[in-house]
């Protein structure tokens, strides 16, 4: 048995920053990546070195690919939506046009596409919306209905650019503080929307708490649920075993790497309850 090659298509390149724009609390950044764009699928991510050559930050940071354009004016390009959160992401957001970053991609699994037309719901929390727009386009082109639900703690943390909205049949917003859309946590709004739109497949991306709540709803409605998880990653390429999530397995629990068997995973396979995991270990 010759196993499928892990990290197939991944390359390490010096990618030039060709655009860096502040959009609300995020930075929309574009990198010239040549061939890498052609291999990128919605759900894949890139891993970027941060801090420069004398940095005390020795690990890469992972970012979901927001959009990959195969043949643009600058050749292939990849776009990211970066939240300036801690030292690494702030460093990245501070890069100027013309600077280069060390970037590896595309990495990880991509969202699976239904073989027949289906009513899909794409649920994104915060910058978790990033990979969903390219997915929406793909799904729409395959003839699927695409309902998008984006939530965040407050209005300006919802990332929903105009051009991204082209492909969706409906867009619902939720905010924890009620500053936009439905007031409340994103998961509270979902059951009603599922019924309303006759949703058959759920795609989700966002904080683990949100994914867990959606997994529960998907289970109740017996819907397929693909979620892009976000676990702390040291290597991004499958060699360190730090990024695992627990999934159900014949002998109890199995820890699988979210960088190569994810980030897109089957929400129904993941064991979301921490206590169950700790008890089993």
């Amino acid at each position: 048995m010759i196993p499928l090659k892990i990290n197939k298509n991944a390359t390490q390149i010096n990618a030039e920053v060709i655009s860096n724009k502040k959009v609300g609390p995020y930075h929309h950044m574009v990198f010239a990546v040549a061939d890498m764009a052609a291999h990128s699928r919605p759900g894949n991510f890139v891993a970027i070195s941060v801090g420069g050559s004398q940095s005390a930050l020795i690990l890469r940071r992972a970012f979901a690919i927001y959009r990959a354009i195969d043949k643009g004016p600058m050749g292939g390009s990849i776009e990211l939506v970066v939240a300036p959160h801690g030292e690494g992401s702030k460093w990245l957001c501070a890069r100027n046009i013309g600077e280069f970053v060390d970037l590896i991609g595309p990495l990880g699994t991509a969202f699976g596409i239904p073989t027949t037309n289906a009513n899909t719901m794409l649920i994104g929390g915060g910058y978790g919306s990033a990979p969903l727009f390219a997915l929406a386009e793909l799904l729409k082109n395959r003839g699927c209905r695409v309902d998008m639900v984006l939530g965040a703690s407050t209005a300006n943390k919802i990332y929903a650019p105009l051009e991204g909205k082209r492909s969706v049949s409906s867009l619902t917003l939720t905010t924890d503080d009620g500053t936009a859309g439905i007031h409340g946590q994103i998961s509270e709004a979902i059951p009603r929307l599922i019924r309303e739109f006759g949703t058959e497949v759920i795609y989700s991306c966002g904080p683990m708490g949100m994914l867990s709540a959606i997994a529960k709803i998907a289970d109740e409605f017996d819907l397929a649920h693909q979620c892009a998880v976000e676990e702390a990653m040291a290597c991004g390429i499958g060699v360190c075993m730090t990024c695992v999530v627990p999934i159900k397995h014949e002998d109890g629990i199995k820890m699988v790497r979210t960088c190569i068997d994810g980030p897109v995973m089957d929400g129904s396979e993941i064991i979301w309850d921490r206590k169950t995991v700790l008890d089993a270990l």
Binding site: I58, M241, P246
Partner: protein
């Protein structure tokens, strides 16, 4: 300028170059093979394998620290059966030189693992990771005491038979690493691997609790390199004839050279691979340039050079 002889030896085995992967930092090899051919490494040191499949620890399993990181994987792995059935044949197919790292919770478990490697063809050495908690003795790490370290090595030696070189991997978290080294050398190891991670902890100032699920973790990366150089220097000084596989924070050819000057016969690259999948290849290239630049055309002349007068 004459050609560089880059080969190195551990026990009876020769390796084409001295740059190895570090155990647990290259998984089973497949993940890296997208980036470079594994056969261009001196050797692939596999992640420590135990007898049974292991789930490992809960997450978070890692925390970044200044110029370093903590990990607490808990030796997740498929168990020796699956490992020998799947991973090893694949590595052999890649024409990689293989050093198998083994880990156990009891002296017997090491013996059982060693027996499984007996007469296994296609492997170049066994690295005995004795930095594991001894379940029979209050979870104290085998590598922390000469007697438990020796017990493990003797069990491996007895069971493995043949000529396969045995490398003991020591922990820096001891009062006197030279004493432990001396004990396992007496017990018949062919080489030493220095150093494993340092025990560390990070507390998350938001949750105000230890960041790792396992509370403590192993500190690796450039932060610990001065400790590795010191340990290698001390042990090479005491036992100049025992080959040392050096590791700890090597991220450049210059770093590798530092460990070699201190006394390492080979250098394993661990954490650096997380930041750069091509790290081992870049280090190999930079090291070969440094050796040539310094007129060290036989790699073996560089080993322990810092001990000799100028």
């Amino acid at each position: 300028m004459s050609a560089l002889d880059f080969s190195t030896k551990i026990g009876s085995k020769r390796f084409s170059n001295p740059i190895f992967t570090a155990s647990g930092c290259a998984s089973s090899g497949q993940e890296l093979s997208q980036f470079f051919p594994l056969s261009s490494l001196g050797a692939v040191v596999t992640k420590s394998i135990m007898t049974k499949p292991r789930t490992g620890r809960a997450t978070p399993r890692m925390a970044e620290t200044p110029s370093g990181m903590l990990n607490s994987i808990g030796l997740q792995g498929p168990g020796i059966d699956t490992f020998l059935e799947k991973d090893i044949p694949w590595l052999i197919e890649q024409q990689a030189k293989i050093i198998i790292s083994i880990a156990g919770e009891t002296v017997d478990e090491y013996g059982v693992l060693a027996r499984r490697l007996r007469a296994l063809s296609g492997i170049s050495a066994v690295e005995v990771n004795i930095s594991c908690p001894n379940v029979e003795n209050r979870g104290q790490v085998f590598a922390c005491h000469p007697d438990t370290a020796v017990a493990v090595i003797e069990s491996v030696r007895r069971n493995i038979g043949g000529e396969l070189p045995i490398i003991a991997k020591l922990s820096p978290d001891v009062t006197d690493i030279v004493e432990i080294a001396g004990a396992v050398i007496n017990a018949g190891v062919d080489g030493l691997a220095l150093i494993n991670t340092l025990l560390g902890m990070v507390i998350d100032t938001n949750s105000m609790r230890p960041k790792l699920a396992g509370k403590t973790g192993g500190l690796s990366g450039p932060a610990i390199r001065p400790v590795a150089v010191r340990a290698i220097y001390q042990v090479h000084q005491a036992f100049p004839n025992t080959p040392i596989v050096g590791m700890g924070g090597v991220a450049s050819g210059q770093d590798a050279f530092e460990l070699i000057l201190a006394g390492a016969s080979a250098v394993s690259v661990g954490t650096a691979t997380f930041g750069n999948p091509n790290a081992a290849m870049q280090i190999k290239e930079e090291l070969s340039q440094l050796l040539t630049k310094n007129g060290l055309n036989d790699f073996r002349d560089a080993i322990g050079f810092a001990h000799r007068g100028i």
